[in-house]
């Protein structure tokens, strides 16, 4: 299965707390199903390596969970990095993605209709 790892623990040469500057809490609500999109060409921006890595995964609309897998990072670590990038205007959030209040009735009806016609 692509993307899956059989071993139960993968160490990283750089500790998570180094990547996040010691912070554990993101400033935005970013969940695995939050959709992001890059606002900036990773090649034309002077940002650090980890920001560029995230940007290189945000060339289209993509979820936090997918970016995390592609970068080999836990979602919780990505959330801290991505929060700063949102504040810096490098990436944007699709505001209706995985809202805390859940999908509206109208959205649920669209989802049901689509599932019934898959």
């Amino acid at each position: 299965m692509p993307g899956a790892r059989d071993d139960d623990y993968v160490d990283h040469p750089i500790r998570s707390y180094v990547r996040t500057g010691g912070r554990a809490r993101p400033t935005h609500r970013l969940t695995p199903a939050t959709l992001l999109i890059g606002h900036t060409d990773p090649a034309s921006t002077s940002v650090g390596r980890q920001e560029r890595e995230v940007l290189s995964q945000c060339l289209g609309v993509i979820s936090m969970a997918e970016i995390a897998v592609h970068l080999g990072q836990p979602v919780s670590v990505l959330a801290v990095i991505a929060s700063d990038m949102i504040d810096a205007g490098l990436i944007g959030v699709r505001p209706d993605s995985d809202t805390a209040t859940g999908p509206s009735r109208e959205t649920l009806q669209k989802v049901l209709h689509a599932l019934n016609h898959l």
């Binding site: 299965m1 199903a33 649920l108 989802v111």
Partner: protein
């Protein structure tokens, strides 16, 4: 470590502005990842978090008593349902520590599909208990009918799992895409009733 997802569906369509998530919960080996793989437009992906705690006696699969850092994996997939809406399916065992770890996972979810193996009904008790006590999510029980597993009537399952009359029970072969889609539709229909 890097995924081999093809470039064709690496990204969602640029028109997608909304994501909805459904949790697929159930004990180990009940078929969560199989179900997700049956309906997902991408190969199921696995994301991991590490938790630091005494893991002895909790996880029968990969726990080593001396280790205090445990890696918890969550498999997920996605389906683009309309030009604007993507559905994400997250598979999680649903034990207590998973809710703590994936805070924000249940929050905002459309609902949960509880996969059940009739050979091991007792394995579902903790998952159902956690769903009822820690979330207000609408849920549907989906029997993943394994070959040779006891063939109970839905009412027998309802009694055995102590489910409310309102909780739908569907039979679902996790390997069959149409059956999985029908189970998801049953969940969304149930969510609409309780919305």
């Amino acid at each position: 470590m890097l995924s081999t997802t093809s470039d064709d569906n690496h990204y969602l369509a640029p028109t997608v502005v909304e994501s909805v998530k459904i949790l697929v919960v159930g004990s180990f080996g009940v078929g969560k990842t199989t179900l997700i793989g049956s309906v997902s437009e991408i190969d199921p992906l696995r994301t991991e978090e590490t938790i630091t705690e005494a893991s002895e006696g909790i996880d029968a699969v990969d726990a080593t008593p001396e280790k205090t850092t445990t890696t918890v994996a969550m498999d997920f997939g996605r389906i683009t349902l309309t030009d604007e809406i993507a559905l994400y399916l997250f598979g999680t065992p649903g034990q207590r520590r998973f809710w703590d770890l994936w805070s924000g996972l249940a929050e905002g979810a459309a609902g949960a599909l509880v996969l059940v193996d009739t050979r091991r009904l007792e394995d579902s008790f903790e998952v159902l208990d956690q769903l009822e006590t820690r979330t207000s999510l609408p849920f549907v029980v989906a029997i993943n009918q394994f070959p040779g597993a006891p063939n109970y009537e839905p009412d027998q399952i309802r009694t055995a799992l102590d489910l409310d009359d309102e909780t739908p029970i569907v039979v679902c072969n996790a390997k069959n895409r149409n059956a999985c889609v029908r189970a998801l539709a049953a969940l969304v229909r149930h969510a609409l009733k309780t919305h």
